[in-house]
């Protein structure tokens, strides 16, 4: 089994749904250790993504085209820290997915490129209580799953689950990057909003892989 452009479209639409569903939760997380806009920012961004998808005359041909549309839309509508970070992640991912279909290796490459993009822009390493703490274990889990011959969908599943654990594991951390770092010790005890949204978006990718209907 491989993942095609219909999967990519399902992923995007499912992403918009989960962001809408978790908007308040993400705002609340960001209110605890940031400025309370993360859910609003992503919601504004994904609403714009869906609007631009709907406005297309012809559906995108390749997975990479879909991801590029997501990248440029997020960059121009999300703002804040998450906008350029997610935007760069999708842009780098788009560059390695100029393909009709993704096999397990291509899924891994996509996730690796995304993580590289985030690190290139934000310069965070793991343990700094950022979205990197979700992306990093996600990539590791994806690599491991692909090595064991998993299907693309299962690779995404492994990545999503690892991202969730990673997000969970940010709770005790003291932030040293991003806005939460201003709180010092007081940032401990709350999950990082960006790590949490990363897990949601990767679960959306995995869900989209099990889905079958048209995008």
């Amino acid at each position: 089994m491989t993942l095609d452009v219909a999967w990519a479209l399902r992923w995007v639409r499912r992403s918009a749904e989960v962001v809408a569903e978790h908007r308040i939760e993400l705002i609340e997380l960001d209110r605890q250790i940031g400025d309370g806009d993360h859910g609003e920012n992503l919601h504004r961004g994904y609403t714009a993504v869906v609007a631009r998808l709907d406005a297309l005359d012809a559906p995108p041909a390749q997975v990479g085209d879909v991801l590029k549309l997501v990248a440029t839309t997020l960059m121009s509508t999300v703002g804040g820290a998450a906008g350029p970070l997610y935007g760069t992640a999708y842009l780098r991912a788009a560059k390695v997915t100029g393909l009709d279909e993704l096999d397990a290796g291509a899924v891994v490459a996509m996730l690796e490129a995304g993580l590289e993009g985030i690190v290139a822009r934000g310069k965070a390493t793991t343990g700094e209580k950022t979205m990197v703490d979700a992306w990093s274990p996600a990539v590791a889990a994806a690599v491991a799953a692909a090595d064991q011959g998993a299907e693309p969908g299962a690779v995404l599943d492994a990545a999503a689950q690892a991202a969730s654990s990673g997000a969970e594991a940010t709770i005790p951390l003291v932030a040293t990057k991003g806005r939460a770092s201003y709180l010092g010790e007081r940032s401990a005890g709350h999950a990082d909003p960006g790590a949490t949204s990363t897990a949601l978006l990767l679960h959306a990718a995995a869900d989209a892989a099990t889905g079958t209907g048209p995008a």
């Binding site: 609003e40 703002g79 820290a81 822009r121 990057k177 806005r179 201003y182």
Partner: protein
């Protein structure tokens, strides 16, 4: 939440539209992407100054667009950095042929979005330099690698760099002046009660009747520590002490003392804070050569204030005194 708004999603657009109508003699509002430029700009032969950031800090930045200060301002969503697709065209619109200085408050989001915008503008052959303002002593630089935040000192950078551009300095010169202001300005703030971001609908943080938050930022981020409510003099000491210490202010030096309201504090209280801050500056052996008191770098209707001290020399004083004609600052 009770606010004079129509729709949380439209408050920035409507507010900036109203701003543009009210100050059509000074500014022109560009919509979609949203940015504000001088009505009489770009000024040929002058270095352009562009700033921006999340909305909710008004009059920062759009209120400072005009002769002697900014050439363009880019308002993001509430408390959310604007995006490169707005910053880049604002940069082009501000260019009078001698390049553009980006004045960016030190927040990950602002830095990243202005970075990308600078690349885009340079691809269009506009030379861009960036000064990142980080005057907030509440954040200890060494411990937290995101570094100190940019807060009320941003006004000083914008005013003085604007005057440097006005007198004809080139891009490197204007940037150097801006850096010098940033190196000599320090701030620290307090919140008595948080503001409410329209889309969130609840205050950015919760404080009881008996506690205040010291070292607050301007984005509704909680501060460094929560302490019991105290008198204005005691609170002012908690703010001014670290500012003076970090600045290493010496005997006989001259400063600008700027007491800034966070949006929901009466002016009368700001002058009470100013009074004590001034006593403290003078007790440190320095003298207050210039003063500014008012709500200029706000956090919606947050109740609180910040104390900013800028070390002055003859040149910075002259640039501060130079004429400025904007909606919010004018002399």
């Amino acid at each position: 939440m009770k606010k004079l708004i129509n729709d949380p999603a439209r408050v920035v657009d409507e507010s900036v539209e109203g701003f543009g109508w009210a100050h059509a003699d000074l500014v022109t509002v560009h919509r979609d992407p949203l940015y504000v430029v001088r009505a009489d700009g770009p000024v040929q032969g002058k270095v352009g100054l562009v700033s921006g950031g999340g909305s909710g800090h008004e009059p920062l930045h759009a209120g400072f667009v005009g002769a002697g200060m900014l050439d363009a301002a880019v308002p993001g969503a509430m408390f959310t950095s604007p995006t490169p697709d707005a910053i880049a065209p604002a940069t082009l619109a501000a260019d009078g042929g001698r390049g553009v200085l980006h004045i960016v408050k030190n927040y990950t989001g602002d830095v990243l979005n202005f970075e990308t915008a600078a690349e885009l503008a340079e691809a269009d052959d506009v030379e861009v330099r960036t000064v990142v303002v980080n005057d907030d002593v509440a954040v200890e630089d060494s411990l937290y690698t995101a570094g100190r935040r940019g807060v009320a000192g941003t006004l000083c950078v914008e005013k003085i760099a604007g005057a440097a551009a006005d007198r004809g300095d080139d891009l490197a010169g204007v940037a150097a002046v801006a850096e010098r202001v940033n190196a000599n300005v320090r701030s620290m703030g307090v919140a008595l009660a948080a503001g409410t971001v329209p889309h969130a609908g609840v205050p950015s943080f919760d404080l009881t009747e008996s506690e205040i938050e010291i070292g607050i930022g301007i984005h509704g981020e909680p501060g460094r520590r929560r302490v019991p409510m105290a008198s204005a003099d005691e609170i002012t000491e908690q703010l001014t002490g670290p500012v003076l210490q970090d600045l290493g202010l010496g005997e006989g030096e001259q400063v600008l003392l700027f007491v800034n309201g966070m949006g929901g504090t009466p002016l009368s209280e700001l002058y009470v804070v100013y009074r004590r801050a001034r006593q403290l500056v003078e007790a440190a052996g320095a003298s207050v050569a210039r003063s500014l008191v008012g709500s200029y770098v706000t956090s919606l209707e947050m109740q609180g204030a910040s104390v900013t001290v800028l070390r002055l020399d003859e040149e910075l004083t002259a640039l501060w005194d130079a004429p400025v004609r904007t909606a919010a600052l004018r002399w």
